[in-house]
Every structure is written in structure tokens, then in C-alpha cells.
Symmetry: D2
Subunit: 370 residues, 4 copies
């Protein structure tokens, strides 16, 4: 397929100001990607790289000569040239590091999930609001072209009413040592579902199994029901013969298959069932409709680049990212609920949707590619 | 792919006897297939074709000149030359017709599911035993080459311990007017699972939705847990962008993808996770194993032909098909339980496994291709 | 995929007349299909079935009770109730049988290819014209929905100028005993190409090999160049790991993949290269364009049914099928030329395009589905 | 699919010596890859980076701080610490740069194709022999796991006698400004074919078209015939709806599909035709054989890493890489011949196979992964 290397440029207000000073904390699996992307074309500058492993630090110091390195977060937070801290450490450390950074008056970008419990996630959100700082969570899929293309279809009514969503996210590996597959893979699907539907489910069920390591579920089937009537099934597994990231959305007007990693990741099916009311005909009548299948052209850019530029944009503009933050909190709520259901053998866990009735508030206009 | 038109021959004891006299009841979707297959090479003879629709009867009379036609089942059952009745009518009529036929001393082959409730299914089984007649249910998938190939892998230990099974059976159409998608499509997957595992699940959950016709669920996600620890997720739907009949089995030694309708319906993955015990190493250690992928050559024959010849063989030999009958009963039990769970919003329905603990009794040696 | 069983109805002028009387000659691989289709809903009646094999005749007599059977073509041709003869015998017999039938004043439908040499094909065409009879050749692909959908795209300019066409028609089997793979499989692709392009190539080359049976090429790569500049490569083989019938058309505006047997047989790619002239810019400039991919919904009917109804329609209306006949002759010319090139080690064989310059004359409006 | 990140270690004799000093010339499309790979774990050190574009030089200087940069090749060649020069510049400059480097006593690695004509390629080979220096050409595919897996199958007789090979290498882009698609894409397939067959074809034909830019063929169908009877068809194109790199090998025992870029790049089909001699039976008899399909597990390493380590190994050990050099020369011969045939409208170009009869000399044991 034709790869278009469209250069990504993002409008940032007041670019005459000095670049936003960034510190990256954590050089594990994802940290190096963040560093690489931050080093390209952004209105930001990496000032510190922080990790507990001195050897790793040294390796990256050679590559990013402009940044200082340290094993001590305190040194990072004490630097007034650091405007924002990007945290890519294990989940159980997210809260402490993010809270420290917010207390130090820094903007914070935390890898997903936001925190290891909804209580801690709420704490972080409250703290960010109190200190008037940006708190963003790295739900990169929200910036991926296929996910956004489908969001657009839903908003334009292309699919009609959504009846149900069925999703599989499976491959062989990588087992986590301390959390279930729901904590590991769930945030991907849950963030996408919440983004598409702007709605939290009212109840969750999960059945799973700890096939390999006692106490760590490596496969889970999660079922959600929404107040709007939509149901969703999400299969998550570290044990699978081949990699699959596939989501099917069935709507009253059209259906979509989203196959991440395919050369045609979004396929729109102009198919459906037409129902004629029994009142008119004595007996209801169904007919099937079958039209073209379309693979829309996808934008071509790196989602992580757009996401980080959105973070910088929010810092510049003071946008509090209300929808995004609400979504990140809800992902933790959902993971927590699903994990609890799994622990209790699949018992239904009803979510407290609060005053909003589960609908996510705030404007959803994530940065567009300009 | 090379289509081998291997001629199917089945050993039948005492072929010197007269052919088994057969009556076919019901000329709807499946009946004509049964007629076509029965008219080819078997140690049987169709003596009656019975349907309520005279026009249909007439059409088939011209094609099967050896058979008599009638709209009245009584005439069929009164004929001493009829040894066996094959019932391919709507589910809600299975019990009455089968019971009448058994009372008349006929052997009975009923299309799946066996009956519209487990109580009625039990009744039929009891009646057949009392009258010493064969009662067989048309679970044709048990005779399909891919399903049997996987059964063989399981029995030979090729897969190791099975951890979980994930299945999807979806396409656009055909809505049933009176029963949910679980009654319509569930028997396929449930019969296959029971055949492979020789075990009934201990509990079932189903979440679904009646997207199109009020009260008739057209999509369902069914989750089963087995006493052995295996879990299974089955997605059933009449609403899907494209046809999919795909089952994944994940075992401790190998994994299998069964994709019915593909030119390579069974693909065996020599992949897995190796777990080393924490006792020995202080901390457990996981490594991933990846080997060849094999698509075994499939036998090439029509499953329905093998199934009907097995029915005739059982009549000849007096084999009571204990395993097969137990399986057919269990399928009804399972469908009933899943449907109840769906009606109750996904509540767990615990199955009464009885003395057997859910394990299916009886020898499983279905007729092999000779 | 949704299978629509749209009933095919074809308008025929003067349906008040008696049905067209048909004789079918040849009960090999294709004859039974012709019989089956003729027996359904047409303005025709099969009066004779003719084959040299008495046992085969008997088998089909039972199925088609309205028709008489014979091993002697003379009896068929002598019957004044026979209006048309359909010939589905081995290629080397086409000429004799068709010529006899035309001499007897019958309309003729011959399976493809029309005759075993272009000289004989010309003879038949001349004879048909002289006797004012319809002579049609069974190029069924011209009636298949994907082939016609692409014809429509070409005519509407959807593809722009066609640059080249690349095609593969391969599978394992079935070797012919007396002719090369070019005679066996070539007519399919050649008829499709001629139909799409309405143009005969000006030269042909073929390189092949007789891998299995000495003297019978079982693989051939055929390259054609057209006066319009188009080039085409056709791979034909009886030796292949898996079945493939795939044709790619590359045009200046769009590209198409035709994959016969796929659930989405036509895929239209809105992709191309945009060339800006060097005169304007000092140096030419290329840019790549990439848009949606579309799988248009295909009509759903049996091509053979439409083809035979077109034959009957031509008999009724006196349409001489000029384009169709010219195409059938050209297919033989092309097969002959490619086979000669193959025999001569790939030497270029230049075709004598005559006064028409290779362009096929006559209206091309094959019967549409009404 | 499971990605195994097996660390690649290569045995090098006398690793106590100082690292081999390397200069990289050319920072276009491929040069940066060479630099990246050279900077990882090898018994070599990049001392110079050379390119005519100062800005590019500066960008890479920052990344590879150990290397000096220059726009003047003379400075590189004058440095006695440079043992070897790696040339990744446009094809028309290969000869001059390589010749200069060899004259300066450096070992040389040139990107493919070796030179822009077979005469120049011969010159370089002669020069390298005279100066006793290694001359290697970057045919990276010879180090790719699937290509080597198939080489192994051929050598072990798994495929039996090879009948023919059919290959497609097409995608949308990237047009070259000065050479045809044969010079651009042909070296890939030709090097693979020569490696597999150890034999040069005796004649070549190519038919193509300059669809977009006058005089620059952007599509070509190349047909080769080998003395052994094998024929090969290679489709090359910069104009295609979707990327395809697919080669089919048909042998007397088995068949293989090599699909580069697929998660299962090699698929071995245990299928074939069995021929029984007419002498025994009066008439020959064919039967078809169909067995399993196997996707062998592929080694997981970066081919470029193995290739460059092989270059370093050859420098250390004095291995003159006879087979490899003969292959690189033959690739140029083949490209030249195909291009000439294309220019002459597809005329057969017979290759002068010399004393060897076209068979490639020298041991073929490319470095194995240890």
C-alpha cells in the first residue's frame, strides 16, 4: 500500500514563547518511543530523562545529548525549566509520581491506565484541578486514524443506531507479573469504546482464567451493557495462536470491521436488516439489504506524535481536556469493575454512573491533523 | 484446492437384508438435503415423503419416483415397511412427531435440536429406551472432517490441556420468528464443544440483545465454565457484516484455529508458553515457544452422508448410540440454560450435572470413513 | 456474505409462441449443468439428449423425463421440433457437430472454444451466416457479474486509460490429454480480455513447459501487446499449490482487482500516479494519489442462466450476435497463436488484424438482468 | 505472531583484533539503515560518513558522534584506519566509487546492483581480485529467513525437481528517474532466483510499458528459461493497487508459496501430480496427491545485520566470497539482458553462459546464525 509520509504539523498558539520543558520518567517498553517522538519537530524540549536503572540512563544520554539524566525524581521536579512530566513507569507507581509532579506544579502526562484504582485516579484528577494543571493519560488509540475515522462515522450517523460491539485483542504474550490481562489489554479497548460511545456502561461482567500463572488471569471475556441498550463483548488474552486486534460494530444502517494492523484497517459494510412493523402488515417482515463495502483511505501519521502535540497544545492554551480526563478516569473504573467481576466468577458489577448517567462530559475535539 | 471426490462407502453388517425403509417428514430448508443424500448409495430406501404442503410434495414426488407422498403422518407410521422416520420439521413439532413415531415402533432421526425443552428431550430419550428404538439427533457437525480432526488432536493429547475455547458463529440472517439466536445457532457450537470435551459445563451465562424484533434476541455472547477449569465463549449473531464460523482452542501444548468454510479449515499452531515453577527459581519464569503452523489435509466427504449411514448402521447393529444421545440431550439442556440466562440479563445459570458430574457417557466411536 | 437468491426473469419477445426446442449433445463435465439450467424457467424445452454413452443417457433420461435420448446425432437433427442444438462435447468434435447442425438448419450453441482452429471457426461462422442461423459460443464468463461490472467501469471511464492487465488462472488439475493448458484455460481469460477491451492484440508470445506429460504444456506465461499500447500477461497452469483466478487492471485513474471466487470479487482502488509535464516545470514531477477502496455489491444470478436465455432471445429476435461471434472467433485465433508461440519457444506471433485493425465489431449489449 | 527478538551473535575469528574500520558513503534511502545496523553490536566501527549533502551529514553527525563526516570521498580513502567502504549511492556512481576504493586498498560493499553494466561489474570484480580485496554486493534478500528456508528445502530435495517459478513484485511507487523498473526491482527477484537455482538462465524475454514517464518502463513481465528446463516468470511494476511480493515454486514433489511481508512468509504444500508411464499401462495415468500445508517457523533476525556481519567476517577470514560475487555479477548480466529485451519489444536475448554453462561456482555457505 502506498505509505504517505505526510509531515505532521500542529498549530500551537504563541509559538514565539520558549519550548515547553519536558521530563521523561521511565525508560521501559514505552519510554523510548516517547523520547523518540518528543525529539522530533515539537514545540517542546526534553530537559530530563529519569530512570532507576543507571545503565539505561547512560545509553539514552548518548542519544539525547540535550537532556540531563538522573535516578532521582526530586531533581527533576525541582527544576523550574521543567513544565511537564511524562510518566511511563509501571502502573502501581503512576499515582505517587503523578501526585508528586502535580504538587510540584508540573503538568502531567501519565501512561495508561491513569492509576491502579479509581480512588487514586479520582485523587489525581482532583489534585490536577486544584493545582490548575493539565493531567493527561496516554490513551494513544484515541489519536489513531482508524479509531478516529470510526468516531466520525458514528457522529455523522453513518452506522445508524449501534446495536452491539464485539472485540478481540489477543496475541501470544506478554504476561504481566502483577496484574491480570484486563489491566494490561483492557484499557485499549475500553478507551476506544468510551471514546466512540461517550458513555460508560451500566454494568460489567468478566469471566476468565489464570491458565499459566496462578492468580494472574491471562484470558478474559468481558461483557458490558449500556443504558442506551448497546452491548459489548471484549475478548482479551495473552494466549492466542495469532495476533488479532479486531472490532466489529453493528449498527442499524451499516456495519464496520476495524482490524488494526491490516492494510485496510476500517471496512464499512453497507448492510443491514430492514424491519417493517407488524402493525401495518399483520405480521412483521424482515428484508436484508446488501450494498458496497468501502475501505476509506486512512490519514497517515503517527498517533503518538499527535497525542503529545495535543498535550503541549493543552499546556499552551490552558484547555483542561475535560472529556479526555473523564474518559481516562472511566477507563480505570471499568478495568477495576471488570477485574472485580472476574475475581468473583463473573458476577455482574453495576457501575455507579453518578449524576451524568454515565455520559462523558466535555468537548471531544481532540487535536486534528492540520 | 484439490477437491477429492472420494467415494464414500460404509461397512454395514448383513447387507444381504433388505434395505432399511425410511420416511422423510418435512420438506423445508433441510429436508431436501436429507432426501438427496438418502437417494445416493445407501443401504436404505425412501418409502414415504410427508409434508403439509401439497405443492411441495408434488414437486418432490416427480424427483423421487420410488417414494409415496402424503400430508398425513399416520399413513407413514402405519406402514410396516417403514423402519425409520427422519424428522426435519420446525423445532416445536419435534417432540410430538418423534414420540408418535417411537410409539409406532419406528427408529427416529430428528433434526437438531432434539426437542424444544430438556424435559421433552428426556421424555423422548426415555421413550426410545423403553421401546428399544434408535433415537438420533442430526448434529451433522459431529461428522464433519475438521471437527473430527480436532477431536482426534484432543484425544491424542496434541493440544495438551485445553485452557479455553473462543468461538464466533455470525452472519447476516436468517432471523427465526419464534426462537432466539441461541436456539437457532447455539446447537451447532454446543454440540461441537460437547463432542470435543465430553463434558457438560457447570454454569452458563448469556448476554444478548433483541436488536431488530422485540423479544427475539439476534445476538448473544454465551460464556460457559467447566468443572475441569476450561472456559468457553461463544458469540452467536444473525447480524454481522460478513459470515464467520471460527473457533480457537488454546491448549497447554498447541493451539488450533478452526475456520469452517476456509480452504484450510484447521490450522494447528505449535505455540505456547512454558512456565517454570517459582519453587525452583525463586521467581517463576515464562518463555514463549513458537514452531510450525500446520494445516492438515482434510478428508473429503459429505458429513450428512456419513451421519445418515451411521443412523442406518445403528439400526442394523442395535447400537444404542448412548454417547450421541447423551450429547443431544445435553445440547438442549445447554441451549435452554443459555436462553434462560439471556432472559434474566446474564445471570449465571448453574447446570445440574447429576451423577456423572457432567461427563458424557458411552463410547464415542462415530462411524469412520472406511 | 448475504446470498440473494434473486429470481432471474428475462424478457423475451413473443412469448406466446411455442417454446424453443432444444437438443443437448454431450453429457460430460459441462452438459449436466446446461441441462439443469435449461430445465428451469426458460422459454425453451429440451427435446433430445444425445451422448455416445448409453449408461449416461439412461441416468439423465430418468431425471429429464420430457426429453428423448439417443446416441445418434442424426436422429436429433432430423427432428423438426428441434430449433437449436447445444454442443458440449470435446473440442475436436465441435466443428463437425456444429457444421452438421447448421446444415440441418438448426441454431447452434457450442461450448468454448468455438473450434479447434481458426480456419474451422471461420468456416462455422460463414456457414451460420449463409444459413442465417444463430451461432453462439459458451463464453459464460461474459455473463458473470464481476466481469460485467468491470466492463461497465471501463466503459464509463472509471479506470481511465488502461495501462496493463495481469492475470493468473491456476490450480491443481485437470490435465487434458490432447491439448495444452492454453487451449484449456486460455479461452476463459482471452474471452474476458477481448470483451473488456473490444480489441484483439497485435502480437502474442507464450513460454511454457510440459512438466508432467511430454508434449502437453501444463504451464504457460502468455504476453500480449495491443495496438492501443495495452499489454497483458496471463499465467495459465494446471500445476499450482492453490487455486487462483485473479486479474489486475491498472488504469490511469483507478485500478481493479478481480478475484473470482472471493466473497468480494471486484475491488476498485482509487489509486494512481499523477504526472506533471516536464515542459511546465523543467523536470517532470510525479505524485501518488491514494483514495478509498470499494467492493461494489455484485448482482446475484447464475451466469449460465443468463447466457442461455440470451441464446434463446437471439433465436427469437433474429439478433445475429455479431460482436459475440467475432469475439468467439478471436478467442480461437488467440489461443492458436499463443499455442504456436509456445511451440516455437516463445517467438512473437503477429496477428493478422485485417481491415478492422483488431477492433471487435458489433453491438455489445449482452442481455441485461431485467 | 510471536516476535522473538533473538540476539544475533556471529562468530568472528580473532576478535581480539581492533574493530574493522568502516566508512559509509551515501545517506539516501538505504544509507541510514546501514548506519543504524553498523552501530549495533558488531566487530566494526564507523569512522566516516560521507555524502554530498552537508545538511544531511550534519543530521547524522549528531546521531553517530563517533564518526567523522565529509563531502569528499578522497578524505575517507586517505584514512588508513578505514578498512572498508560501504557504498549506498545511486547506481550510476557505483563503479567509480567502488573502483576508487579498491584502488585505495579498501574492501568494498556496494548496494545492489553491483554496477550499471555487466562490463563495469566485470571490471570491479577483476580489480578486487587483483588487489586481493573483498567485493561484496548488498543482496540482502539472500540473508532473509524465508529465502534461506526455501534454499534449504531445494537443497534437501523437499520440492523434488523444480518445474517453474512464478513471481510478482509490485506496488504503487517509487518511480526511478533514470532507470526502468527492471533495474530497480529486478535485482531482488533475480538474486533470489540465482541463489535458489545456482544457475543462470540461458535466455530472457521482457515485455513492458512506459505508462507514466516516456522511456522509463514502469511495468515489465520477464520470462526466463534455464538449461535445466526450469522456466520463470517475474512480474515487476511500480503501478499496482496493492503491494505484493509473492513467489510460487512448483516442484515435482511439493510446492511453495513465498509471500514476503506475510506473517507466514513460507507455506509448503505437500501437493503434486503423480504420473504413471504409458509403457506400463498402455495409456499414461495421472493422479493428484494432496497432503498437509506447513508454515515452517522462521528464524527471527534482521537480514541486514547478518549480511554486514558476513562482510566483516569475510574481511577477517580472507574468504573471497566467490559464489556471492559470481551471483552479483550475474544479476547485472540478467538485468541488462532483460532491459535490452524490453527495449527490443520482447525479443529473446540469449545469455553467454561461458565455460560454466551458467552454473554459479563457489561455496554457498553464507553466514549462518550461530
Amino acid at each position: 500500500m502506498l505509505k504517505e509520509t505526510s509531515t505532521l504539523t500542529v498549530q500551537v498558539e504563541g509559538t514565539s514563547e520558549r519550548p515547553v520543558g519536558i521530563a521523561v520518567v521511565g525508560l521501559g517498553y514505552w519510554g523510548p518511543n516517547l523520547l523518540r517522538v518528543l525529539s522530533e519537530n515539537f514545540d517542546s524540549e526534553v530537559r530530563w530523562i529519569c530512570d532507576l536503572d543507571r545503565e539505561r540512563l547512560q545509553r539514552f544520554r548518548r542519544r539525547y545529548t540535550g537532556a540531563r539524566t538522573t535516578t532521582r525524581i526530586e531533581r527533576v521536579l525541582a527544576d523550574p525549566d521543567v513544565d511537564a512530566v511524562i510518566i511511563a513507569t509501571p502502573v502501581h507507581t503512576h499515582y505517587d509520581l503523578a501526585a508528586q509532579a502535580l504538587h510540584a506544579g508540573k503538568h502531567v502526562f501519565v501512561e495508561k491506565p491513569l492509576a491502579s484504582s479509581s480512588a487514586l485516579a479520582d485523587d489525581l484528577v482532583g489534585l490536577a484541578r486544584m493545582r490548575d494543571r493539565i493531567l493527561m493519560c496516554g490513551h494513544t488509540f484515541l489519536y489513531s486514524p482508524p479509531v478516529r475515522a470510526i468516531k466520525g462515522m458514528i457522529e455523522r450517523g453513518t452506522l445508524g443506531d449501534i446495536y452491539f460491539i464485539s472485540s478481540s485483542r489477543v496475541n501470544l504474550g506478554l504476561h504481566q507479573r502483577d496484574v491480570s490481562v484486563i489491566w494490561d489489554l483492557g484499557p485499549h479497548d475500553f478507551s476506544i469504546l468510551l471514546y466512540w460511545l461517550s458513555e460508560l456502561p451500566k454494568s460489567v461482567r468478566a469471566v476468565g482464567r489464570d491458565s499459566i500463572v496462578k492468580g494472574i488471569a491471562d484470558v478474559a471475556f468481558v461483557t458490558m451493557t449500556f443504558a442506551s441498550g448497546i452491548i459489548a463483548n471484549v475478548e482479551l488474552s495473552w494466549l492466542a495462536p495469532s495476533k488479532l486486534r479486531r472490532t466489529v460494530l453493528v449498527g442499524s444502517e451499516r456495519m464496520v470491521i476495524y482490524d488494526d494492523g491490516s492494510s485496510e484497517p476500517v471496512r464499512l459494510f453497507d448492510r443491514g436488516v430492514v424491519y417493517r412493523d407488524p402493525e401495518t402488515f399483520g405480521e412483521y417482515h424482515l428484508s436484508y439489504r446488501s450494498g458496497d463495502v468501502i475501505s476509506p483511505r486512512m490519514e497517515s501519521y503517527e498517533p503518538l506524535g499527535l497525542e503529545l502535540s495535543d498535550f503541549v497544545r493543552a499546556i499552551r492554551s490552558g484547555d483542561n481536556l475535560e472529556f479526555h480526563t473523564a474518559l481516562a478516569r472511566s477507563v480505570v473504573t471499568l478495568v477495576e469493575a471488570a477485574d472485580r467481576s472476574l475475581d468473583e466468577g463473573g458476577r455482574e458489577v453495576v457501575l455507579d454512573l453518578g449524576a451524568s448517567g454515565g455520559s462523558l462530559q466535555g468537548h471531544q475535539d481532540l487535536a486534528a491533523v492540520v
